[in-house]
């Protein structure tokens, strides 16, 4: 049986002067597009340069000429009106270039993959290679649309097909069903905000807006008004006022919960990094979160926090006011700051890498209305330590747009098999064992290397001296170090994808975000078979590292007193190193299963859904 022919698509290219841009757009379009099921329609918005004459010379382009410049919205609507009434429409700015074969087919297939998909956008990058757009969002705090992923180094993040609130219409595939239902672009706008308005109207009519991450086009961003600041400002503000009037109340109404979130945001710590992700995911889940810094003078971490998160969304969330006594407040941090919770319903959310909790943490936890921990491991530890209040397991997650197997790594040109570990240089992480075992398991002639991304912020610790003191063999396995390097979060996936296997051989973890990130990137992993991460790690997707038993936790951290952590087995680690090195296909398959499981079960959206469900119950 043959499949039905794809629906025809009219590609509408709106232009006004700047023939150089239009020419480049059309040339790249012709070179990379199968036009069997498509036509190209150029709307000339009253150009006064050579555009009209040049367009007449191109036989494969249909031209609609407007006598004067009607602006972006009416110009595009003229193109939509001129398209056959049974065809889909793809709006394409004339400052977009196409360098990818099959791009139109991919957008069309995405649009027709489900009846409720109405609008499809794609990744846009700048000519210098930086990502510009992977969808948009609009906060009712500011009514200033933001592009997801803007100006990030492109490592192929946001590569999947996913739902978004809106897209920029520099490239927008509009299914005929949507146009039939809601018409063209709203002429309440002359330019700007009409794209978000269209997506929101489509949503009200039951259609989703999605990004097809498999398609990437180049956007030169030479909009005809953005090159003229005064015109841009006037048009933008006029459209913004219109948008606020039309959508203000509806955007506010998307929140079904409000939540005060007291935590840490602008430091390179695990709590801070995960906090950023939780806030974003909660917003997408309909939770209006107001953030305040929980540490500072008078707390165990007296440093003041920078006001600027270098992120539009997080800055907006930080400027929200939650009031003197918010109805529900979560302190997300160590248990010794739970007492700073200012809510009427008080929640303490914490984790720890040992089998119990310090007395002071338990005392403060017992002053909460309820306690959240990410794992059953920590729930059991809290209860065994004397927690009397309800405790809920609220797992953390992973950002599968930044961490997935399609992220581009930087491969070792020598072709060595690469083990990677990413850790802070503290006793718990057993770096000494890791290095010794690796050095003894392999020979220098073996095509294998251990890369350690190491952080040390303790003045009394000399990492280099400690490595030298290990007395490692010059003829043993080789290692290399990335010391105190802070990588942009969106690039971290490239670090994992530069390796073949991830190793986490510490004594215990409160969650182990790097392990989860590496697994989401499709790496096989060797991980100590004890600790909170056993919540998401199992033999089907990882290589559990046996432990010899439990030991008193003997570290400099005061909260480790009187509790235990694991004693990972170095002989088993040596065995696993060798096994993975010699069974690469088996290991790669485990890595693939790990990535699939992380995406299916452990995203931040899953985490936020659990938070929303809990808030539903709290009422």
């Amino acid at each position: 049986m043959t499949s039905p022919a794809p629906r025809r698509t009219t590609v509408v290219v709106l232009c006004w002067n700047r023939w150089d841009l239009t020419r480049r757009c059309l040339e790249t379009l012709k070179a990379h597009t199968d036009l069997t099921h498509a036509e190209v329609l150029v709307v000339d918005n009253g150009s006064t340069d050579e555009t009209p004459q040049r367009l007449r010379e191109i036989p494969w382009v249909r031209v609609v000429t407007n006598a004067t410049n009607l602006g972006y919205v009416r110009g595009n609507n003229a193109g939509i009106a001129a398209a056959p009434q049974d065809a889909d429409v793809l709006l394409l700015n004339n400052d977009v270039e196409i360098h990818q074969d099959g791009w139109l087919d991919a957008l069309r297939e995405t649009a027709h993959a489900a009846p409720d998909v109405g609008i499809v956008g794609c990744r846009l990058v700048l000519p210098d290679g930086r990502l510009l757009h992977a969808g948009t969002y609009m906060l009712p705090d500011t009514f200033w649309g933001q592009q997801i992923g803007a100006l990030e180094t492109d490592v192929n993040q946001f590569a999947r097909t996913r739902d978004v609130e809106g897209i920029v219409f520099a490239c927008a595939y509009l299914k005929r069903e949507v146009l039939a239902r809601i018409g063209g672009l709203s002429e309440n706008f002359r330019s700007y905000f009409e794209d978000t308005d269209f997506c929101l109207r489509a949503k009200e009519a039951g259609f989703r807006t999605v990004i097809c991450g498999a398609v990437t086009l180049v956007h030169r961003e030479h909009g005809s008004t953005s090159d003229q600041p005064k015109t841009f400002e006037a048009l933008f503000q006029e459209s913004r006022r219109t948008f606020r009037r039309l959508w203000g109340k509806k955007l506010e109404a998307r929140y079904r919960h409000t939540l005060s979130w007291q935590s840490i945001l602008n430091f390179p710590t695990g709590y801070a990094m995960s906090c950023r992700e939780i806030l974003r995911a909660c917003d997408a889940e309909g939770i209006r979160v107001a953030y305040t810094y929980v540490y500072g003078p008078g707390t165990p971490f007296p440093a003041r926090e920078d006001d600027d998160a270098r992120d539009y969304f997080l800055n907006a969330v930080s400027r929200r006011r939650s009031g003197w006594r918010p109805r529900v407040s979560v302190v997300y941090g160590q248990g010794d700051v739970f007492h700073r919770n200012k809510g009427r319903h008080r929640i303490g959310y914490t984790m720890l890498e040992v089998d119990g909790f310090p007395e002071e943490w338990v005392r403060q936890a017992n002053e909460m209305d309820e306690v959240w921990v990410p794992s059953g491991f920590n729930r059991d530890g809290f209860l065994a330590s004397g927690l009397k209040k309800p405790v809920h397991v609220m797992p953390l997650g992973v950002n599968v747009d930044y961490f997935h197997p399609g992220i581009r790594g930087v491969n070792n040109p020598a072709g060595d098999f690469v083990f990677l570990a990413n850790f802070e240089w503290v006793e718990r992480k057993r770096a000494d064992m890791l290095l010794k075992v690796f050095n003894q398991t392999f020979r220098r002639k073996d095509p294998v290397v251990l890369v350690c991304k190491v952080i040390n912020v303790n003045r009394t610790t000399n990492v280099r001296a400690q490595i030298e003191a290990l007395g490692l063999s010059a003829s043993g396995g080789r290692a290399a170090f990335l010391h105190n390097r802070e990588f942009p979060y969106h690039q971290l996936g490239a670090l994992y994808r530069s390796a073949d296997c991830y190793v986490s051989a510490g004594r215990g973890e409160g969650w182990d975000m790097p392990l989860m990130e590496a697994m989401a990137c499709g790496l096989p992993s060797i991980a100590t078979d004890w600790g909170a991460h056993t919540e998401f790690v199992h033999e089907g997707i990882s290589y559990p590292l046996r432990i010899r038993g439990l030991l008193p936790a003997d570290a400099r951290a005061p909260y480790d007193k009187g509790v235990r952590w694991a004693d990972p087995d170095p002989e088993h680690l040596a065995h696993l190193f060798r096994h993975v090195f010699e069974h690469r296909e088996e290991a790669a398959a485990k890595g693939g299963r790990a990535a699939a499981e992380m995406a299916a079960r452990w995203t931040w959206n899953h985490a936020a859904r659990r938070i929303a469900a809990r808030l539903d119950k709290i009422g």
Partner: protein, 88 residues
């Protein structure tokens, strides 16, 4: 063996050793000239982390401050500085 004969043997041996040292120095100079500047400097300093180390410590920065960096450039540099694999 007389003292004179022993002395002569030692003189010859010393001359041979001096020649060997000269040859080694020349070979080392040639090798150093072919090395990247940082590696040549590390070799000249000698000591703890020479070219024989299987661990890349010669570029270690002892600061406790974090340095912002891009993954692509750091990894490219790391692969370049990786201690060479020993011939099997």
């Amino acid at each position: 063996m007389s003292d004179d004969a022993e002395l002569e043997r030692l003189r010859v041996e010393a001359a041979e050793l001096r020649d060997l040292v000269r040859a080694l120095s020349a070979a080392l100079a040639r090798a150093a000239a072919a090395l990247p500047p940082e590696a040549a400097l590390a070799l000249a300093r000698g000591g703890d982390a020479g070219a024989e180390s299987p661990f890349q410590l010669e570029h270690w920065n002892d600061t406790i401050e974090m340095t912002r960096a891009d993954v692509a450039s750091e990894m490219a540099l790391l692969w370049k500085r990786l201690p060479p694999r020993e011939s099997p």
